[in-house]
């Protein structure tokens, strides 16, 4: 076995895993926050995520068409697409809750879940329709900005592109902001209070519906940011691109302990790392018997094992108290 190679690629694989993990973490937050408040899986969150990527690509294409992409300062462009993607996904998430979930709040639990699956398919095909009418395209390519593709060689085996740094910095900022909002503001405390006991929260004068909308808004914004970063990092999106990352992010949320915000962050990073290491090392370690395409099988096997021994997830509570 080629040990120098195995050791040599380690830092690069670690970096790739962390980037992928941040992406999963940002998406997973949307699942976990909504679950925390409503005990409901927002199956449409994968589309809410990818809509952020589409908002981003549309702005970039418009700027490019107007010849502004090269003339505007690139950090400004990045901030613009991030903010717009977050706003787009947040608005979508709030509307979906208002239209498709809230009227079903009192219905048996399976009903809103089915509604969410319906919304998910509806949004996929709506995006497809809009893009085919508007751009006559199925796959959209993120226009590149030259700066973003510049790479720094850190060591002979590790180099990092500007866009990877952008993704890491942006993701860290988002996670920090979310943490601060949820743990250090009054409205964040209200989100946690509503998650624990809606009736008691309403007796505190908290408008529970408004807090639920806010939860969808924040989760949607995080998903939208992830969508834009996904587009910037991987470059190609289509109307169905949200589905698999969404499913994996949901898994990450379960892995971390669904309903638990730090758990979503940890679960996302762990899943990203598992996937990256499996993609790079499986074929090397098995002499090519298992190729990189087995990465998901490996990652999900580990996941199943973890959940067998920790059914509540890595950071999930062992006992859940409910009044």
């Amino acid at each position: 076995m080629d040990y120098p190679l195995l050791v040599g690629i380690f830092p690069q694989v670690l970096l790739d895993g962390i980037i992928l993990g941040f992406m999963y973490a940002l998406i997973a937050l949307g699942y976990t926050m909504v679950y925390g408040v409503l005990e409901f899986i927002n199956f449409a969150h994968s589309e809410i995520f990818i809509v952020g990527a589409f908002v981003g690509v549309e702005i970039l294409l418009s700027l490019k068409g107007a010849g502004l992409l090269e003339t505007l300062p690139w950090p400004l462009v990045l901030v613009l697409i991030l903010v717009a993607g977050m706003a787009g996904s947040a608005a979508l998430a709030v509307s979906v809750e208002r239209i498709a979930y809230r009227p079903l709040r009192a219905a048996p639990r399976l009903i809103p879940l089915i509604s969410a699956i319906g919304v998910s398919f509806f949004l996929q095909d709506l995006i497809r329709l809009v893009e085919s009418v508007w751009r006559n395209a199925f796959n959209l390519v993120y226009p590149t900005m030259d700066v973003l593709n510049e790479r720094f060689e850190l060591t002979s085996t590790l180099d990092v592109s500007v866009k990877s740094l952008v993704v890491i910095v942006a993701a860290l900022l988002m996670l920090w902001a979310l943490h601060a909002i949820v743990n250090r503001t009054k409205v964040g405390t209200a989100i946690r209070a509503v998650a624990e006991d809606q009736a008691a929260a309403s007796l505190m004068g908290i408008n529970v519906n408004r807090i639920i909308s806010l939860t969808f808004l924040i989760g949607g914004a995080m998903g939208g940011a992830a969508g834009v970063l996904f587009g910037v990092q991987y470059g190609l999106i289509n109307p169905y691109s949200g589905f698999i990352p969404g499913l994996k992010a949901f898994t990450a949320a379960v892995l971390g302990g669904i309903g638990n915000i730090p758990g979503a962050m940890v679960g996302g990073i762990v899943l990203g790392l598992l996937e990256a290491f499996a993609a790079s090392y499986l074929s090397l370690l098995t002499g090519g018997a298992f190729g990189a395409e087995y990465k998901d099988i490996f990652a999900f096997s580990v996941l199943i094992l973890i959940l067998i021994f920790r059914p509540k997830g890595l950071l999930g509570e062992v006992v859940r108290e409910r009044a």
Binding site: K186, T189, A190, A193, A200, S202, L203, G205, N207
Partner: protein, 233 residues
């Protein structure tokens, strides 16, 4: 201050309250007594808007409360300490109290914090503790303190003695009297009739969803039926 008239409440087909009528005057402590399942909790939940009545009227300081959601009712000066305390277990003591003051923008919040810490010194020593790790008595204190942070003129208390050791019950009841003396009107639901009548001005007895008896605390304490059914004689 509060008046409830011919109130009917049902859970699906089950009628839990049938024509309940009661009134609470400003400055009073009124006890609402009755056995398990009589409808005491249902009465309080309907007053605070958690349940919708099928018919009847509820007015608070002359304003009808019909159809008003709970988060708006509490802004009109009513606070409800629900049965089983329902504190936020995963929040700290301080965060629970901040939730009590959620809707307030006035300058009196700090003074009210001092006031609840004066009433419940043990909470003051545990502000940073996660509420779920408090003892039962401390949790009840927190539930009452949290409600006081709303700055209520009328306080509904649902079985504050539930599950507490007798010495703690005495302490909580002493505090209820203090809160009342400081100007808050109180509607107190209790199964512990002796304790409740010892601090109340007036009382009602609820039996299977209807008011069976009403009177001053002294009258109820002397009533033969009450003595037999609720005071264990």
């Amino acid at each position: 201050m509060l008046s409830v008239d011919v109130l009917d409440v049902a859970y699906g087909q089950i009628r839990a309250l049938k024509g309940v009528a009661l009134a609470v005057g400003r400055g009073e402590i009124v006890a609402l007594l009755g056995n398990n399942g009589a409808g005491k909790t249902t009465t309080l939940k309907t007053i605070s808007g958690l349940l919708r009545p099928t018919s009847g009227t509820i007015t608070l300081e002359g304003q009808p409360l019909a159809g008003v959601p709970p988060h708006e009712i509490v802004m009109r000066g009513l606070a409800h300490v629900p049965e089983g305390r329902r504190i936020f277990n995963r929040l700290t003591v301080r965060e629970n109290l901040v939730m009590g003051a959620y809707t307030r923008r006035d300058a009196g919040i700090a003074a009210d914090l001092d006031r609840v810490f004066a009433l419940f010194p043990r909470l003051g020593e545990r502000v940073a503790q996660v509420a779920g790790t408090l003892s039962g008595g401390e949790q009840q204190m927190l539930a009452i303190a949290r409600a006081l942070m709303l700055g209520p003129r009328l306080l509904l208390l649902d079985e504050p003695s539930m599950g507490l050791a007798p010495v703690l019950v005495e302490q909580i009841f002493d505090t209820i009297v203090d809160i009342n003396r400081q100007g808050t009107t109180i509607l107190l639901v209790e199964q512990n009739a002796a304790m409740a009548l010892s601090i109340a001005h007036r009382g009602y007895v609820l039996e299977t969803g209807s008011i069976a008896l009403a009177g001053t605390a002294a009258e109820l304490s002397d009533n033969a039926d009450v003595r037999r059914a609720y005071l264990g004689e």
